[in-house]
């Protein structure tokens, strides 16, 4: 499913303290692409991700994804948009502590009529042996795998990752990136990864660099590096 971002503008604050964090973002992300949003802190990448994810509304512009356009959507419509089109993965996993790994994933399977096969998914995530454990019994990497599984289980056309390796060590980060890559190849979801780690961008099909609320470069990466070979 293609994603079209048109003239997104976003302001925070009022009167003298009003600042513009997104200054007219335009770009297209093609169906099945891995797109990395790069930029320093305060460049607006998380705000853009939140707008794409329907967590925040843009003051101007709109996001077109399939039949949906986020422009002028009500809170209820945004909720439906997220339910039907999106999967979110956060830096700190945000798992439900008193549900097992399997149950955490099932939470999102409940939201769709045709979820992915649970056992197959657990196998892909490498969590079959841990499926009946609770989050606090697992390592950070395993918890992030579970969070990815939870976002993926309803097989949404768009998967959003907010600093997915931000809380992980080097090796575990590489494992997670390799998993993301494998999932992309297997399920062909469009993926947007927000990171400040430039090395991650080498595994992407498209690299968007943001600075001061503007896209300063939109590059199609024809020379992709496998996630397992990334180094930083």
């Amino acid at each position: 499913m293609n994603l079209k971002i048109s003239n997104i503008r976003k302001f925070y604050g009022e009167n003298e303290s009003r600042i513009q964090v997104l200054k007219g973002i335009d770009c297209d992300i093609k169906d099945g692409e891995i797109c990395v949003l790069l930029g320093p802190s305060g460049s607006g990448k998380s705000t853009l991700l939140n707008i794409i994810g329907g967590l925040e509304s843009a003051d101007e512009g709109c996001i077109d994804i399939g039949d949906f356009c986020t422009d002028h959507m009500t809170e209820k419509e945004l909720s439906e948009y997220r339910r039907n089109n999106l999967g979110f993965v956060f830096q700190f996993y945000n798992l439900i502590p008193n549900l097992t790994i399997r149950e955490n994933i099932e939470v999102c399977a409940y939201l769709t009529k045709s979820p992915l096969a649970m056992d197959d998914l657990l196998d892909t995530l490498g969590l079959t042996a841990h499926q009946h454990k609770f989050p606090n019994q697992l390592s950070g990497g395993q918890q992030q795998r579970c969070a990815i599984g939870r976002a993926l289980v309803k097989n949404p056309p768009l998967l959003l990752f907010d600093e997915p390796t931000g809380a992980l060590d080097y090796n575990t980060s590489k494992e997670i990136l390799a998993l993301i890559e494998r999932i992309n190849q297997k399920y062909h979801n469009t993926m947007i990864i927000v990171t400040h780690n430039q090395s991650i961008s080498y595994m992407a099909d498209r690299i968007l660099k943001l600075h001061d609320g503007k896209i300063i470069s939109n590059t199609v990466n024809t020379d992709k590096t496998a996630a397992g070979d990334l180094e930083w």
Partner: protein
């Protein structure tokens, strides 16, 4: 597919077992008391309804000096009133200064309900009131001495005209220990000397569907007919005026709403506690909620999820509460009625509206309050939840504190941060302390009331006369009953008018040249002051008199006004020196046939002790219930504070604070709030207690002044502190259990 989030619920219940158990206990206690009370009340109401027609309960009675002729009875019937002989003899010499009325066998009016045993079939058999029998430990088969003869108790009964055992209609309280009604066989009754008989006629209106206005008109006509025929009417009371009949009906009518309000108040409090607990959960699970919302969960689904514990507790509480209420609690409640009121066996009906009131409504109240809180709280955007920005004004609401010591500022911050929980804690302390005040304070209040009467009563014996007597003993005065409007109770109340002489020995300073003096009891009840105008209604003569109040006389024993004997005689169109009452310090030797009624100091004082006895069980229930509720609320609300502060407490441990120092920071803040609340609540409870007394006084003919000794307040505070000490010990353990790793976890 079932929502996997539901799997959290049993785990949450297991983890917070004590918290949920506490809530269920309060709810079960509240609802079981509410439902058993409602059910018993319905049973008692049904009994009262049944006896109206099945036992031919009287519509009123009058007492005369001698039996009426058949002609007079016939003319009364023509006026629409069927008067039936209901003569009785009075035994004054029963042990323990007890008065027993012996009624003749009844055939067409006020038929007795047999409680145990049977009605008298033979000579010298007596069926006595079952409440009196129970209180005095008299059993079937026992022999009792009445009017100089030995009677075998063949049964215990309740009489429709004495569901509440008021010795005198003007009495403040029932007297089930020193007053008894009984029924003997016709043969035994005929053997009683005529001199000891009182000629009472109980009546029923011939037409059963008369309006109140028409009933009053017939009664008025009857009274006039009796007077016109030269009959000396001693007493004429319709069922509404007769406390022995109307008291229970009124009591049932007022207790019901009172209890209902009490139950719903507690249910609302539990609902608010739940709202605070849920609010706390939402704050601690803010990121999870944000994640679920961003993954596509709808607001309604999240509300439903967080509403489930409330729903489960409410359903379990109301189901268990009703089960216990309708099984285990019914008997004790019926027992309270049996020890207080003389009513026949109560059959508890299954009443659908009452059942719904104690099942559906508490659940609805809890769901509604929690739903509103959740809807408000979850109206924030998912991003706010992810960022834990749950306060609409952010940090703007943080108060800048003066430069206290670090410890004090820290504690103040803890208190301000948990103000919602502490407010609910305050409310819980207020409500339960009030219940305790009621439970502990009722006995001294009634003692004081008795003592007040004892002290202000200037005489030991009061003789109401049927006819003038030739004696120089005692002080003669004219006493007459009139009515005045009591706006708070929305009814007329009886006022005794004492026509006294200027040199009265017993009411020295009550004499007023102009106007009237009112007793302190009446002044307090009607909120009267010197200079006010009091309107008295003489219903027998269909006249109204307006008086200016010249002073308040300290007399708490009765609702009375004092005026000169000559003025009262003039009002009653009698001779100036007319009298019908003698007051005396000693018992007088007056001819029996001249005495209409003799009231002794003991008669007046004994009634209050009896009332306390009948309340003993209720007081015990109130006290146990208050302590349980107190303990649970205190535990839950203080636990919330500790849970909310688990992270800072963990930080403090990492920083190197000792457990004792951490307790000083967090637990001492709670201790300050608990102790302050206990003290601050006392004046509020006193205010509420006074309001309740005003309400209670509106239901009875007398006035109960507020009085609680200092020890009651001390006991309330000590019980509160003792309960808190126990809870504090549990919390010291909880604080110890908070791991330091809590602070070291990955956090945004």
């Amino acid at each position: 597919m079932r929502n996997p989030l539901n799997k959290r619920i049993p785990r949450d219940f297991k983890k917070n077992f004590l918290k949920y158990l506490g809530m269920i206990i309060i709810l079960v206690c509240t609802i079981s008391i509410g439902s058993s009370f409602q059910a018993t009340m319905k049973g008692a109401t049904a009994y009262l309804e049944n006896i109206k027609d099945n036992n031919f309960q009287e519509d009123g009675y009058f007492e005369v000096l001698s039996p009426l002729s058949p002609e007079i009875l016939k003319s009364l019937k023509e006026e629409g009133l069927i008067a039936v002989e209901n003569f009785y003899a009075t035994e004054h010499e029963f042990p323990d200064s007890t008065k027993v009325l012996l009624f003749n066998e009844r055939e067409s009016i006020d038929l007795p309900t047999v409680f145990e045993g049977e009605l008298p079939q033979n000579d010298f058999e007596v069926a006595i009131d079952h409440v009196f029998a129970r209180n005095r430990g008299i059993s079937i088969g026992d022999t009792i001495s009445l009017l100089g003869k030995e009677y075998r108790v063949c049964g215990t009964v309740s009489l429709p005209d004495y569901s509440a055992l008021f010795m005198n209609n003007t009495d403040l309280m029932m007297n089930t220990n020193h007053f008894c009604v009984s029924v003997i066989s016709k043969e035994s009754f005929e053997a009683i000397e005529e001199g000891s008989l009182t000629y009472r006629y109980s009546y029923r209106f011939e037409q059963r569907d008369l309006k109140k206005k028409d009933q009053l008109a017939i009664e008025e006509k009857t009274y006039k007919t009796l007077l016109l025929n030269g009959v000396g009417v001693q007493n004429m009371l319709n069922r509404d005026q007769n406390q022995s009949i109307s008291f229970l009906e009124t009591d049932l009518g007022t207790d019901g709403p009172f209890m209902t309000v009490f139950v719903y108040l507690l249910v609302a409090m539990i609902a608010f506690i739940f709202a605070i607990l849920t609010n706390n959960t939402i704050e601690s699970e803010s990121v999870i909620i944000g994640t679920l919302r961003s993954l596509g969960f709808r607001k309604g689904e999240i509300i439903l999820h967080y509403l489930q514990p409330t729903l489960i507790v409410a359903v379990i509480g109301s189901a268990l509460g009703n089960l216990i209420g309708y099984t285990l609690m019914i008997e004790p409640f019926i027992e309270i009625y049996y020890t207080t009121y003389s009513i026949g066996p109560i059959v508890v009906p299954f009443d659908v509206p009452s059942f719904l009131l104690t099942t559906v409504l508490p659940v609805v109240i809890m769901i509604l309050i929690n739903c509103c809180m959740l809807a408000r709280k979850l109206s924030l955007s998912p991003l706010k939840f992810l960022r834990k920005e749950l306060k609409k004004n952010g940090n703007k609401r943080n108060i800048r504190l003066p430069n206290f010591s670090f410890l004090n500022r820290f504690r103040l911050r803890v208190i301000l941060q948990n103000r919602g929980s502490y407010l609910m804690l305050f409310f819980g302390i207020f409500l339960t302390s009030f219940l305790l005040m009621f439970g502990i304070g009722l006995a001294p209040l009634m003692d004081h009331y008795t003592e007040d009467i004892n002290q202000s009563l200037p005489y030991n014996y009061q003789y109401l006369l049927k006819a003038p007597v030739n004696t120089e003993e005692g002080e003669k005065l004219l006493v007459y009953e009139m009515d005045t409007w009591f706006s708070l109770g929305n009814k007329d109340i009886g006022v005794s008018c004492f026509g006294i002489q200027e040199n009265s020995r017993y009411f020295k300073d009550a004499f007023a040249e102009q106007g009237i003096t009112v007793s302190s009891a009446l002044a307090k009840k009607l909120n009267l002051e010197t200079g006010d105008t009091l309107i008295l209604k003489d219903k027998a003569r269909d006249k109204e008199h307006s008086f200016s109040i010249a002073g308040i006389y300290p007399y708490d024993a009765s609702m009375a006004v004092f005026l000169s004997q000559s003025s009262l005689s003039e009002l009653l169109e009698q001779k100036e020196d007319t009298y019908n009452c003698i007051l005396s310090d000693t018992k007088l030797n007056l001819p029996e046939e001249s005495i209409a009624k003799m009231i002794s100091r003991e008669d007046l004082l004994g009634a209050t002790n009896q009332m306390l006895q009948s309340f003993e069980n209720v007081i015990l229930y109130i006290n146990v219930f208050s302590v349980v509720v107190y303990f649970v609320i205190l535990y839950i609300m203080t636990k919330v504070v500790i849970e909310k502060n688990a992270l800072p407490i963990s930080y403090m441990k990492v920083f190197g604070y000792h457990p004792g120092e951490i307790r000083k920071l967090y637990l001492t803040a709670t201790t300050i709030v608990v102790i302050t609340s206990l003290f601050v609540c006392i004046p509020l409870e006193i205010w509420l207690f006074k309001e309740v007394l005003v309400f209670l006084s509106s239901m009875i003919d007398g006035y109960i002044a507020f009085y609680l000794p200092m020890r009651v307040y001390l006991e309330i505070i000590l019980i509160g502190m003792a309960a808190y000490l126990g809870i504090n010990a549990i919390h010291i353990h909880s604080v110890k259990k908070i791991p330091m790793t809590e602070a070291l976890k990955n956090r945004e």
